[in-house]
């Protein structure tokens, strides 16, 4: 993948994709999950891999079935998660938690196709839970977005969570 394009993508593309990222964060903060699902491509691949702390000079080979994943979701699985959240039976989210996402470091780095862009971004998620405790999670994301008519759709998202020990009891949120 070409990570540093010789010429930057058109400003209109950068603006549109950045706006899409901000819009997505706002929809999720407002629990407008249907609005969020509408921004996803039907072939969405949504992943968060596990990371472990290893010595830089570690000699061991990679794990045979991979390092494991926390999320490895397609559209059906993401809809299932949304259905769960909307079921009215998620006691841990009622009254609702306060979640706020800040998106930063947006960098459009490549155009694999005329209507596609690869985008790096950083997410800071603030969660204030029903018992009043607050947790802050940060993550890096590498996305593939595709322009379809008037809209940009999220086709793939790789999430790298910056915590070797999750500082919270669950990851009941979309990143």
């Amino acid at each position: 993948m070409l990570d540093r394009p010789l010429s930057p993508p058109p400003v209109e593309v950068i603006v549109a994709v950045t706006q899409a990222l901000h819009c997505e964060a706002r929809l999720l903060d407002n629990e407008d999950f249907d609005g969020w699902l509408a921004m996803l491509d039907e072939d969405i691949c949504y992943r968060m891999e596990l990371k472990s702390r290893r010595f830089r000079a570690d000699r061991s080979p990679p794990l045979p079935v991979g390092p494991g994943v926390i999320f490895n979701e397609d559209l059906g699985r993401l809809k299932l998660r949304v259905d769960r959240l909307k079921s009215g039976f998620v006691w841990a989210e009622d009254p609702p938690n306060f979640i706020r996402r800040a998106i930063s470091n947006v960098e459009v780095v490549a155009r694999p196709a005329e209507n596609e862009v690869r985008v790096h971004s950083v997410l800071i998620m603030h969660r204030n839970r029903i018992d009043g405790t607050t947790r802050v999670l940060t993550a890096a994301r590498t996305d593939l977005w595709r322009g379809e008519g008037q809209a940009w759709l999220l086709v793939a998202r790789d999430i790298v969570l910056d915590h070797s020990v999750l500082p919270d009891s669950n990851l009941n949120a979309f990143f």
């Binding site: 472990s52 702390r53 570690d58 000699r59 926390i70 959240l85 079921s87 999750l166 009891s169």
Partner: protein, 455 residues
């Protein structure tokens, strides 16, 4: 090895009456009781430290904790496994900050003291500064634990030189453990990595949830179940043909319908796989165990390991203070499964009982809030109710252990706290009661037991 503590010796039997069925809330937050647990339970029990498959080759290692003590688990050149304190004998710093890997040496960051994977001191930075007689290399290695042993792939260690053999410690619980560790030729392995998360809850709440609390599932996990199963709530429990079984504080609650947990895993290919091997499993473990495996079930090994046999999540609740634990989770699979089935299991585990899983996400808040609310200075003096199913004990021809009928029960929880009390009150390990008297005796292999094929 003896661990002396200076201070008051409270009468722990005041904190519960398990014949009546109540617990004192203070055991979930009191700092003195917690310190005593570290000495009397974690420094004296056999504790799970690794699965053999995590460190297959010489030089492979991982780091973990026994109680709050940091340890390294390392595979030796001769194939044996050593467990040693992850603390330099010079100033005490950790000598290994990696989660896992392969190495020849552990080197302390502070003064460069270097140890081989057996823990022997091999050298240090500017070695000339030590004169003759200053240091005896032989006595300044990483402190090894008293005993290391493994049962069908699970490696346990103990700081307690007086501990009974691991087989005796697990006792008749091996009959149940074999359902997850030995249901197919080839045994098991951990795949993928380890997920760690921190919860602000007492470690016992995690253990007791898995040891017997089928009761919470239909309510706590209602949203997860409905979303995974087209809006259907949990099916009703068959109270006639489901059980609690408790052995020395270990416990397994289970149905006998064979499919409930496999349905919850939500991966049809995995269900197909187990259905295919089930006749062989029946030959191997007997009809009864082949019917228990895969049913709605959960289990804990005393003091701090839990797993779901059909769903394949395996976990450890590491104490980090009276009101905090670190949860470590792995995926356990049969070694002889084809790779695509292993991947299906991994996906299923993460989607259900990973930190982002549709079931796991409901549990943490409950345990955290039980812990913090129980601490209230007035609240802590109120008793907690643990009496469910207290009259339903039965004798069962096939099932070993203290057996209660009906999966919705507090029986295994009571068994767990009985063992907790036994360990908190007995100085002499050899005088501690065995609950119940073992059936298996010294039989090493539960597959060879008579009466196994009875129903």
């Amino acid at each position: 090895m003896r661990f002396e503590r200076i201070g008051r010796e409270p009468d722990y039997s005041r904190y519960m009456d398990l014949k009546e069925g109540w617990l004192d809330r203070r055991i979930f937050s009191d700092a003195d009781i917690y310190e005593e647990e570290l000495y009397r339970i974690f420094a004296r029990s056999w504790l799970f430290v690794a699965h053999e498959s995590q460190i297959p080759k010489a030089g492979d290692f991982l780091t973990t904790h026994m109680g709050e003590d940091a340890v390294i688990v390392a595979r030796q050149a001769d194939g044996s496994i050593r467990v040693m304190l992850n603390s330099c004998p010079h100033r005490g710093n950790k000598v290994c900050f990696a989660d896992a890997g392969n190495t020849r040496r552990f080197v302390c960051n502070y003064h460069g003291w270097a140890f081989d994977t057996a823990g022997d001191l091999k050298g240090m930075h500017e070695e000339y500064c030590y004169d003759d007689g200053d240091i005896d290399f032989k006595n300044h290695g990483l402190k090894n634990v008293a005993k290391v042993s493994s049962y069908k792939g699970l490696v346990f260690a103990t700081f307690n030189g007086d501990a009974p053999s691991l087989e005796a410690w697990l006792g008749d619980f091996r009959w149940y453990l074999d359902m997850i560790l030995d249901n197919e030729e080839g045994g098991t392995e951990f795949i993928g990595g380890c997920i760690k998360s921190v919860m602000s809850a007492n470690w016992k709440f995690g253990v007791e949830n898995f040891i017997g609390d089928a009761y919470h599932a239909g309510w706590t996990h209602d949203s997860g179940c409905r979303s995974m199963n087209d809006g259907m709530p949990f099916p009703p429990i068959d109270m006639e043909n489901s059980y609690h079984a408790s052995v020395n504080g270990h416990g397994w609650e289970f149905g006998t319908e064979g499919v409930g947990d496999l349905v919850l895993l939500g991966r049809p290919k995995v269900m197909d796989y187990y259905n295919k091997i089930r006749p062989k499993m029946a030959e191997r473990l007997g009809e009864m165990r082949s019917k228990i495996f895969g049913s709605v079930a959960s289990a804990s090994i005393f003091p701090n390991v839990s797993f779901l046999p059909g769903i394949s999540t395996f976990r450890q609740w590491q104490p980090k203070g009276p009101m905090q634990f670190e949860l470590k989770t792995w995926v356990i699979v049969n070694k002889n499964m084809p790779d695509d089935i292993k991947e299906e299991v991994t996906k299923g585990v993460m989607q259900t009982f990973g930190p982002g899983g549709t079931f796991e996400m409901d549990d943490g808040e409950n345990w955290e809030n039980c812990t913090t609310v129980n601490r209230g200075v007035v609240t802590r003096h109120e008793r907690l109710h643990y009496r469910c199913g207290i009259g339903r004990q039965i004798e069962h021809d096939t099932l070993p252990g203290i057996v209660y009928r009906g999966q919705y029960n507090d029986a295994n929880q009571r068994g767990f706290y009985q063992r907790w009390l036994d360990m908190m009150t007995h100085d002499d390990f050899s005088k501690m009661p065995t609950r119940p008297e073992p059936r298996l005796g010294n039989v090493a292999e539960t597959r060879d037991l008579p009466g196994l094929f009875a129903l």
